[in-house]
């Protein structure tokens, strides 16, 4: 093939110009990789903070009586729904925690923490003490500070029905959300049941799904599988509309920035190649006189575009990853956790390659349209 050979030779014969273009493309692509990764990390960090330790889908009773009986079958049904990765049940109810003369409103959460910790990952959030056993309870960091509790202290909980129970504090957790740390008293299922005088019931089934963004469609499938008007299925997307639209706006602005960077890459390559067509018009003219076809004459510039894209994008990705690595190294204390997404890097590379080849189209057309007679007549 003559066209790629000519493309390589044309590029290598003007090394200074080629290097400058490649650096220009590389800088643009590195910025694109850096900004893209920053936004992706920001998004996943935000998403993790919001729903990292919470269910994606919650099934509760739709009736006034908030309890769900016969829950074993329901759990089996829900586990069979595609996309569901974890299922857990809980017994929740409001109460007051009383210590000396203070009384704080709390939510007693009876969880299956010994068997199923995939949703709240409570075990990893315990910073002092151990998991609660029968008659024991975990309290959050904020409530601990407020009450000045230690492990082994006895906490009295009063229910709306007027019953009082004494629970021993087995430890303390920190779920990084002040409201939760303040309000949740975490215990096992049986303790929660006995506090509220319940039988073998639960109050909710909580699920996590593989891709959090599909929670709404999985929730629909769950509703269909359960097929029970007495049950209510809600997903995190419905509960966090403001966050979701924030994330979407962020994605859109990130896309916009990356789009503009690509457009500038395309314009740079296209304009430089257009000048190259002018510079090389004599050569193209004589090649046409010697019988090169218009298609091959235009291929020279498509190849040049993709070659520049290849050099520029590989350099750019290396530079971008370098920037990210130095950012990760030097900003260790930053709450933003950057992680390099290899799929995103590959996508960036493919898009850069396609764009630069596309950028060669206009000059390629010019080259195809060049008439040898013009070149020869004008010397």
């Amino acid at each position: 093939m003559l066209a790629p050979r000519l493309a390589v030779r044309f590029l290598s014969s003007s090394k200074g110009q080629t290097t400058l273009i490649a650096i220009g493309i590389a800088i643009a692509i590195s910025v694109q990789v850096f900004v893209g990764t920053l936004i992706i990390s920001l998004q996943s960090g935000l998403l993790n903070d919001t729903i990292g330790r919470s269910p994606h889908i919650t099934i509760t009773s739709a009736d006034e009586n908030i309890t769900i009986g016969n829950w074993g079958n329901l759990v089996t049904t829900v586990k069979g729904v595609g996309g569901v990765t974890a299922v857990s049940v809980s017994v929740d109810s409001n109460a007051f925690a009383i210590k000396e003369n203070r009384s704080e409103p709390v939510l007693i959460r009876g969880l299956d923490i010994n068997n199923n910790d995939k949703i709240y990952r409570i075990n990893s959030a315990i910073y002092q003490g151990v998991r609660p056993g029968k008659g024991q309870v975990l309290i959050g960091k904020d409530l601990q500070i407020l009450l000045g509790s230690k492990t082994g202290d006895v906490l009295t909980v009063a229910t709306a029905k007027g019953t009082r129970n004494n629970l021993t504090i087995s430890g303390f957790y920190d779920l990084s959300v002040s409201n939760i740390n303040m309000a949740w008293l975490i215990t096992d299922l049986d303790t929660a049941r006995s506090v509220f005088g319940y039988g073998d019931i639960i109050t909710s089934i909580e699920l996590r799904v593989k891709d959090p963004y599909t929670a709404d469609s999985v929730a629909k499938k769950v509703t269909a599988a359960l097929n029970d008007p007495h049950l209510k299925v809600v997903n995190w997307k419905d509960q966090n509309k403001a966050l979701l639209s924030g994330l979407q706006a962020q994605s859109a602005s990130s896309g916009l920035i990356q789009g503009f960077i690509l457009v500038s890459v395309i314009i740079t390559i296209a304009s430089i190649l257009a000048i190259t067509v002018l510079q090389k018009s004599k050569q193209i003219g004589i090649l046409k006189a010697m019988g090169i076809k218009d298609r091959d004459a235009s291929l020279i510039f498509l190849f040049q575009g993709s070659l520049l894209g290849l050099i520029g994008s590989v350099l750019g990705i290396v530079l971008g990853v370098g920037l990210l690595v130095s950012f990760i190294t030097f900003a260790k204390g930053s709450p933003l956790k950057l992680s390099i997404d290899y799929i995103f890097l590959f996508e960036s590379w493919v898009i850069a390659m396609v764009s630069s080849t596309f950028a060669g189209l206009l000059p390629a057309r010019r080259s195809a349209g060049l008439s040898p007679i013009e070149v020869i007549r004008n010397g």
Partner: protein, 239 residues
């Protein structure tokens, strides 16, 4: 003016055939550059085309070389009616049948002399075979420039560059060499050398030559001299 009888030439021997070729440049005022040009050139002959500048001789050469199309009339090259060929077929015809030598060498400055000579072969043949490489070597020797064949084309003298351009025109063993003032930029010694080489090639390979020049001394070396004036053939002299 010696009019030739077209019918007496067997068609297989007609390598170039022009019938009532006109070229008009449209503009505010139409300019007729060529008017009813009609002649044939036989295979293996050595011809010169003379005329003052602006007489239309370069336009005629470009039309014969299929770089330009006539406004009306027929141009038949090696038996093929060029009006019936599309752009790609014309490109192929040029590559296989015609070798061009211009006043300026138009070598690709990014390539060596050898690479430049092989380009017409590369266009359709891909990588050169041993036979083609041997042919290229032979041409370099014939041109007397085999010492500089691996030089970049910019690192040669004007005479060497023009000889490289001639070798390039010959690499595909074309039927026809069309040369437009091929020695216009060279001194008289180089000029004489180039014509000697042209004659040799003409004898060795039976290549047909049509050389445009304004230098009468050179033209007179040809077997046949065609003179063009104001777009018309005014003299057709065979010797």
């Amino acid at each position: 003016m010696a009019e030739q009888d077209l019918s007496t030439v067997p068609s297989a021997d007609k390598v170039i055939e022009l019938r009532k070729v006109n070229k008009v440049y449209k503009g505010a005022v139409d300019t007729q550059v060529l008017a009813d040009i009609e002649f044939t050139i036989e295979r293996g002959t050595f011809n010169s085309l003379i005329g003052a500048s602006g007489s239309g001789k370069s336009t005629l050469l470009n039309i014969i070389g299929t770089l330009d199309r006539p406004t009306s009339g027929k141009v038949i090259i090696s038996g093929k009616d060029t009006a019936k060929l599309n752009k790609n077929q014309l490109a192929e015809l040029r590559n296989r049948t015609i070798g061009f030598v211009f006043q300026f060498h138009y070598l690709l400055p990014e390539f060596t002399a050898m690479e430049n000579v092989l380009i017409p072969y590369n266009i359709y043949g891909g990588n050169p075979t041993k036979e083609v490489l041997a042919r290229a070597d032979e041409l370099f020797e014939l041109m007397g420039i085999d010492k500089v064949k691996n030089n970049l084309s910019t690192k040669m003298s004007g005479g060497q560059q023009q000889r490289t351009a001639i070798a390039r025109a010959l690499i595909n063993r074309p039927d026809i060499i069309l040369a437009d003032e091929p020695t216009g930029n060279l001194d008289s010694e180089s000029t004489l050398n180039i014509y000697k080489i042209f004659r040799e090639i003409n004898k060795m390979y039976k290549t047909t030559f049509l050389i445009v020049t304004h230098d009468r001394r050179i033209a007179e070396e040809a077997d046949r001299i065609l003179e063009i004036k104001d777009g018309r053939i005014v003299m057709d002299l065979r010797r």
